[in-house]
Every structure is written in structure tokens, then in C-alpha cells.
């Protein structure tokens, strides 16, 4: 009989009316690396948060090392030897690495500088040496890069003597080199007898690192299989339940002239880091231009610079309307851009934090970008109300009514409302960031079709995406960013995933 580190049985968790986990079963064997695979919103993170004590299950049993346990708090989880690296790092910015690592631990009450050095820093260095980490215990977190922060997180767990590790999408923020290093570390840990769960949605990584795969879909556990016997297609099929995933109608682009040109644009973040470095490209009416890159490579800054939300430090962003004079967008604030009659629609990544106001109803959200139209002191609510009703009908938004706060809607419906509003103005430029993230397959298709409609209607569409398969099927051209630099623009009909992958890590096709 094999020994299990974790056994979950019938674990259920709901948030209000949303069922995040529905009687999920899961096992983790001792000393194995288990990959949990599933779409965004399939309940992977919620499930893991119940193991790490962040959430408490409504139903079900959890066994750790064969014993049934109740995990009420993160402290309970530690005591059971479970440690989790969250997707959003849980580190205190103004603390040093060492301070973060010993946070919440028992031990000698007084911490003199010497104790800190002898007991804490020394032990951290030992761990780093053993597993191959690179760390300065006295560096402040706010001075660290993303991968350094992740290192601190992992060492934090090892330091606590955990033997079950949960990593929530650890590679999403890493470069391929950093990923390689991380995987080497994970293998070292496995050799040392640790059991590891890794959440990811990148198939190649699953194949590379894991011993077994567990698949979650819509909050339910589907199956657990040995990785060695699994091929990528099989996994995809299970995840999406046999639906042919990639079949997007793509029409031939019709060149109707350039709409946006960016020339040598650089954008610097508030903390002084150069996020976009001397980027130049053009996008034409009637095409979809994809934007690919490892997350945080400057995609956000690129679209926000065009929308006027980020200031270009150098360079020019020019808009060419179908008729009339070109306009210099890079010198305008968002309010000026809309005032000068540039029909620029933008579906940002952060839907409820930027694109919509969660506490407002559909009607009020419809007027977010147009409330200032028309003269007078009072805001017109009749037209937005009609628009809201229209969007609900056309895009099949599931909502009790147009007076419901959008926060109450599910992710897919929120996105429909947002996209519906943005395309309602018949834009000449449409920018979307991660348009299908967290959406179920059918909602995702609705969105893809809308983008194609806009393209055919003559809009210049810029689509920032993370799933290369989708970008290759949806777009006409794909531009790739790496570390804020433009590393290449490829034809989506002829390029391969590998080509783009190389560009994403900043190699090959140097211009």
C-alpha cells in the first residue's frame, strides 16, 4: 500500500451562491510531485487555500499522512507540515528576507542583531546552499525582483520544516531560465523526500516536472493520472471535456490603412523601473494584432500608454482616423483623447478594478465612458439604460436585471458587460487585455467572435493574451514583448508556438 501525504474526500466550498469546489477528491503520495491542472476559475486555488488554512471547507474530510485533520488556520497547516507559496506573494514589503522568513515563528523572544545573524541568517544560507537558492537575508523585499521574492517564499516554507509544498502558478511570473532553476530546486526537494503540489496551466511544464496529474474542471475533480502515460492532447481534452477547443473563425484581414503607430515609446513605472523600452510598431484597421510575452513584460504598459493611462517617457503614439488629421495620443490624458473624438475602446485586464465599478449597477456602468457627453449639469441615464438592456439581450448576460450591481455577476458575465459597453461605441481601435481569462469555454467563444466582428467591421484590434494557442488561431499578426522590449512581430498563420516562445525569452529573430 502506498502512503499518502494528502487525501481529500468530498471537499466542498462555496462563496455565497458560487460553488467553488464541489465534492473534490484528491490524493498526494509521499515524495511525489503532483500537478493540478485546470482552467482559470476551476477552483484550484480555492482547494489549495483550504489545505493552507486560508479558507475552511463547508464539507468533506482532509487526511494528512493518513490521519483525519481539521485545518482552521494557517498555523494549523504549518503544524501539519503544509506550506503554500501563493500566487500573490505574502511578504511584508518593508521587512528584510530574514524577517519575512521568521515571521510568525516561535522561538527566542528577544532578537538581538547577533541572534538574527547566528540563528536566522546562517540557517537561511544553509538552506540556500543545500537546494541551490540565491538569497541575501538582509535585502528588503521592496528592493527584490519577482523571482527573488519567490525564493524568499520557498525558503520560508523550508525553514519552517514543512514536508508538503503547494505552489500556486509559480512559473507564471518567471522567465524560462528562472523556471528551469525553480524546477531544479523542486527536484532537489523531492529527492530530500518532500511532497509537492504544483498548480499550473502550462502543459509542457506539467509533463516536465510532475509524476502525476490531477485535473479539475468547474470545481469538480475529473481524474488523476500518471504523467508518463499522458499526452498533451489527452489532458486538454479532459480539461475541456472533449470540446474541440481551438476552432476560431478567422477571416482574411483587409488592409484599410494604419490606425495606431508607436514610435520609440518608453514607459517607466512609478518605482523607476523601465517597463516599456523603445517600442515601435503599427496596427492597421481590419486586423487583430496579438501581444504575447511572459507576464509583466510590458503588455499592460503598452495598451495603457495608448489609452493615455501611462505617460510615454519618450517616443510618439499617433492615431490616424479613417478621415481627417492624425492625432498625437502620447501627449493627451484619457479625458482629452475621448474629447478629441478618438474612438478608442479598451477592455483592461482588471475588469472590476478598472473597467467597471463593482458596486454600481449595469446602467451606471454603461455610462462610465460616456457620462460626460451632452451638455448640462445632469447626467443622462436613459441612453445607458437602453444600452444595458441591449447588451444583456445581445450577449446573453445572466443577471437579475440592469439594476444589479455588476459585482454580483459571475466572471464571464462581467466581461460580457464590459466588452459590450466598449464595442457599443463602434470603435476604430479596440484594445483587449486577457479577454477570456477566467471565462468558461462558451463565454470565451462569444468574446472571440465579438473581436472578429469588430475586425471585420474595420476596427484595429490589439489583443493581449497569455494562451499562445488562442493567439495563434485568433490573430493575424503577433508581436512579442520580452522585458519591455519588442523582440519580434510574426505572422500568426505561419509562426509556431516555439518561435514565439523563443521571442518571449528574448532570443532569436533579433532585428
Amino acid at each position: 500500500m502506498e502512503e499518502y501525504a494528502i487525501e481529500l474526500q468530498g471537499v466542498t466550498k462555496s462563496f455565497g451562491s458560487v460553488l467553488a469546489n464541489d465534492h473534490v477528491n484528491l490524493t498526494l503520495k509521499k515524495g511525489e510531485i503532483l500537478a493540478i491542472l485546470g482552467e482559470n476559475g476551476s477552483g484550484k486555488t480555492t482547494l489549495m487555500n483550504m489545505l493552507s488554512g486560508i479558507y475552511f471547507p463547508d464539507e468533506g474530510t482532509i487526511r494528512i499522512n493518513g490521519k483525519e485533520v481539521v485545518i482552521r488556520s494557517p498555523r494549523d497547516a504549518f503544524e501539519l507540515g503544509i506550506g503554500m507559496v501563493h500566487q500573490h506573494f505574502k511578504l511584508i514589503n518593508v521587512f528584510t528576507a530574514a524577517e519575512n522568513i521568521i515571521l510568525g515563528l516561535e522561538g527566542k523572544n528577544i532578537l538581538s542583531r547577533r541572534d538574527m545573524e547566528k540563528e536566522v541568517a546562517e540557517k537561511i544560507r544553509q538552506i540556500a546552499e543545500k537546494y541551490g537558492f540565491d538569497i541575501d537575508p538582509y535585502q528588503k523585499v521592496y528592493n527584490m525582483s519577482v523571482s527573488q521574492k519567490q525564493t524568499v517564499e520557498i525558503i520560508k516554507i523550508i525553514y519552517r520544516g514543512a514536508d508538503i509544498f503547494i505552489l500556486d502558478e509559480p512559473t507564471a511570473v518567471l522567465t524560462p531560465q528562472e523556471t528551469k532553476k525553480l524546477f531544479a530546486v523542486l527536484r532537489n526537494m523531492q529527492e530530500a523526500g518532500k511532497s509537492i503540489i504544483i498548480i499550473t496551466h502550462k502543459l509542457n511544464e506539467v509533463l516536465e516536472i510532475s509524476d502525476r496529474v490531477a485535473i479539475l474542471r468547474k470545481g469538480k475533480s475529473i481524474r488523476e493520472i500518471r504523467t508518463s502515460g499522458a499526452v498533451a492532447e489527452f489532458l486538454t481534452e479532459m480539461m475541456f471535456e472533449g470540446k474541440t477547443f481551438l476552432d476560431i473563425n478567422r477571416s482574411e484581414p483587409e488592409d484599410r490603412g494604419v490606425r495606431i503607430s508607436m514610435e520609440g515609446v518608453s514607459v517607466r513605472a512609478a518605482d523607476g523601473v523601465l517597463k516599456l523600452d523603445n517600442v515601435s510598431f503599427k496596427v492597421s484597421a481590419g486586423e487583430i494584432l496579438g501581444v504575447a510575452g511572459i507576464s509583466g513584460s510590458g503588455q499592460k504598459e503598452l495598451v495603457e500608454a495608448i489609452a493615455g493611462l501611462q505617460k510615454a517617457e519618450t517616443g510618439k503614439i499617433v492615431y490616424y482616423p479613417p478621415e481627417g488629421e492624425a492625432k498625437l495620443l502620447s501627449s493627451m490624458a484619457p479625458s482629452e483623447i475621448s474629447k478629441t473624438g478618438v474612438k478608442l475602446a479598451f477592455v483592461p485586464e482588471d475588469r472590476l478594478g478598472m473597467g467597471l465599478v463593482g458596486s454600481m449597477d449595469l446602467t451606471d456602468n454603461m455610462m462610465l465612458r460616456s457620462y460626460n457627453e451632452g451638455k448640462g449639469f445632469f447626467a443622462d441615464r436613459r441612453a445607458p439604460r437602453e444600452l444595458a438592456e441591449d447588451v444583456v439581450k445581445k450577449l446573453e448576460v445572466v443577471t437579475p436585471g440592469v439594476n444589479t450591481p455588476v459585482r454580483r455577476l459571475s466572471g464571464g458575465n462581467v466581461q460580457k458587460v464590459l466588452v459590450g459597453r466598449e464595442i457599443a461605441s463602434s470603435p476604430t481601435v479596440l484594445m483587449v487585455a486577457y479577454p477570456a481569462r477566467g471565462l468558461d469555454v462558451s463565454s470565451a467563444y462569444t468574446i472571440y467572435n465579438l473581436l472578429n466582428e469588430q475586425k471585420e467591421a474595420g476596427a484595429a484590434v490589439i489583443c493581449v493574451g497569455e494562451d499562445l494557442d488562442v493567439l495563434l488561431e485568433l490573430c493575424d499578426r503577433i508581436m512579442v514583448l520580452s522585458g519591455g522590449k519588442l523582440t519580434g512581430i510574426v505572422d500568426a498563420r505561419s509562426a509556431s508556438k516555439e518561435d514565439i516562445g523563443m521571442l518571449m525569452i528574448g532570443e532569436g529573430m533579433k532585428q
Binding site: 486560508i54 488556520s73 494557517p74 505574502k90 511584508i92 518593508v94 515571521l103 510568525g104 522561538g107
Partner: protein, 326 residues
């Protein structure tokens, strides 16, 4: 020379009550709670200590100063901790808005102080002005010998024990926050409670403990004012706006208890500088009393402008934390 010595003495005398309040508020704010109820809590602390010793002296033929002082300190700690408890229950457990609760607590506490301060003699059967000379003498007792020294004596050793306690508490608070595990955990709670929670720290317990003990420390400021400064009497609203100055001092000190020590003396000095500037009429004197607030505003603007990581308020200050929020 004489004038400078008196000025320093008076500045310290003004500053100590504020220092107690600021030290308590720093502990509270480090846990992420902005307790605007501190002014009220200081009123509660002051009147409770006074009442405790008043009834003790009333009931005994030959009250002992030491016992009176002990009773006063205990009453103060209990009453002000109670104020902190009200705040904690409402903001931590019931998740009410911190500013709203704090302001309500200040209304309540100030009323509490003034009500009992004004009615206590009547409630006790009409004994006239409340005065606890015996107990106050214990609070005002100077260090024998040392206080006789020239210059050094009056500047450093001419105060009662609460003055030294306030400085000791500030130093201890500094050491606690920066040199102990619990202090580290507490700061983590104030910076990012979700992270602290994930690290296995009991966020609510820390918040409760910091807020209640912070309130108790602040309450001692009220006691200091009543006993050492006023000599064991009460005048309604006599404590004035010192509670708000304590909150201002936290900003001036950039959440560092050691800076609060010298900051409190600066504040005390600014508060009374009008007396030492020759040629001011009464009206102009009032304008000089603005100085502590103006200095605080300037510090506030400068720190927000510089935007340096370590010199910012605790990141979660003012917001409540609930784990299962999604």
C-alpha cells in the same frame, strides 16, 4: 539660564502627557488600527485615576500616598483598557469603520471625563472641589538628592515617577517593536494582515492586545495630567486637545517611539513657547499655540512627498481584516 531651565522643565511637563498618548497610539497603529478614540480614552484614564484615589482618600482617615497612587494607576489602566476594548470589539470583531468608532469613543470618553469630573463631588454627597492632595504628592515626589543638583537637577531630576515611566515605556516600546518576535509579528499585522495570517499569526489577537494595551498606556497620560501636572484636581476640558496632539506626535515621530520622546518635548515647547516670547499680547499668544499643529502638517506633507518606504504609516492602517473575504 534660569529661563531656559524653566522652559525645558515646562516643555517636558507639557510633553509627557502627549508622549504617553503617542506611545500608546504607536502600538495601536502598528497593528493597523487608527484609534481616533485616544483623546477620549485619555480623559477616561485621567478621571478614573482621580476618582479611584478620591474615594480612597474619602474613606480613610490617614490615606497613604503610596496606596492612593497605586489605586489611581490601577483605576486608570482598567478604565482606559476598557475604552480600548470597546474600540477593539467594534472595529476588529464587528468590523465597523475605525474612524467612525474612534470619533464616537472620543465623544463618549470626553463626556465621561467631564461628567464625572463635574459631578463626582455631588455624587459623593457634596464635598466640594475634588482634590486628592495626598495621592498627588506621591505623583509629584521628586528624586531626593539628585533633584538638588544645579542645572542637571531641575532639568533631569525634578519630575515625578510618571515622567520617567513615560520615557521608559517609549524605549521599551521601541525595543519591543524592533527587537522581539512579537514586535515583528505585530508590525506584520499592521503592514499586511493577510500575510501575517498566512504566516500563522493570530491577527485578531494581536490587534486586540496592541489596541487595548495601547489604550492603557495612553490613559496614563490622562493620569499624569491630573496628578503630576494639575496636582490632583480636575477642571472640565482642562486636558484640552492634548489627545489630538498625541495623534499628531505619532506622525511627527514617523511611528518610532524613540523619536516620540524628543518629539514630545518639542511639542511641549511649541505649546508653551508663547509665554517665553517677549512682547506678545494675549491674542498673538493664541496664534503661537498653533505651532504644534502646523509643524505636524508640514511633516505630514514632507513625508508624503518623499514617499520613502520605511517612513510611511503602517500599510493597512485604517482598514479591517476578514480572512474569508473574497
Amino acid at each position: 539660564m534660569e529661563l531656559i531651565i524653566t522652559f525645558i522643565q515646562k516643555a517636558i511637563g507639557q510633553g509627557i502627557a502627549i508622549l504617553f498618548g503617542a506611545t500608546g497610539e504607536i502600538a495601536t497603529e502598528k497593528s493597523g488600527n487608527l484609534n481616533l478614540g485616544i483623546p477620549g480614552i485619555m480623559y477616561m484614564g485621567g478621571i478614573s485615576g482621580l476618582m479611584g484615589s478620591f474615594f480612597y482618600e474619602l474613606g480613610h482617615q490617614n490615606p497613604s500616598p503610596g496606596v492612593g497612587a497605586l489605586i489611581a494607576v490601577v483605576c486608570t489602566l482598567v478604565a482606559s483598557a476598557l475604552g480600548g476594548l470597546i474600540y477593539s470589539v467594534l472595529t476588529i470583531t464587528l468590523r465597523a469603520n475605525q474612524n467612525v468608532v474612534g470619533l464616537a469613543l472620543t465623544t463618549f470618553g470626553t463626556g465621561f471625563g467631564n461628567f464625572f469630573g463635574g459631578s463626582i463631588s455631588k455624587l459623593a454627597g457634596g464635598v466640594g472641589q475634588i482634590s486628592v492632595m495626598t495621592t498627588a504628592s506621591a505623583f509629584q515626589k521628586k528624586l531626593p538628592g539628585l533633584s538638588e543638583l544645579p542645572v542637571i537637577g531641575p532639568v533631569f531630576f525634578s519630575y515625578g515617577f510618571l515622567t520617567y515611566l513615560s520615557i521608559v515605556l517609549s524605549v521599551l516600546m521601541f525595543l519591543f517593536l524592533n527587537r522581539t518576535r512579537m514586535g515583528l509579528n505585530l508590525r506584520a499585522v499592521g503592514e499586511d494582515p493577510a500575510t501575517a495570517d498566512a504566516a500563522g499569526i493570530n491577527v485578531s489577537a494581536y490587534k486586540y492586545a496592541a489596541t487595548i494595551s495601547g489604550a492603557a498606556i495612553a490613559g496614563l497620560g490622562g493620569l499624569y495630567f491630573v496628578m503630576e501636572y494639575l496636582g490632583g484636581t480636575w477642571t472640565n476640558n482642562g486636558f484640552g486637545d492634548r489627545g489630538w496632539l498625541a495623534i499628531a506626535l505619532v506622525i511627527l515621530a514617523l511611528w518610532n517611539p524613540l523619536s516620540a520622546v524628543w518629539g514630545s518635548i518639542v511639542f511641549g515647547g511649541l505649546y508653551i513657547i508663547y509665554i517665553y516670547i517677549p512682547g506678545l499680547n494675549r491674542a498673538a499668544q493664541e496664534l503661537y499655540k498653533m505651532l504644534p499643529y502646523l509643524v505636524t502638517i508640514i511633516v505630514l506633507v514632507i513625508t508624503s512627498k518623499r514617499n520613502k518606504e520605511e517612513k510611511q504609516p503602517p500599510a493597512s492602517l485604517g482598514s479591517s481584516y476578514f480572512r474569508e473575504e473574497r
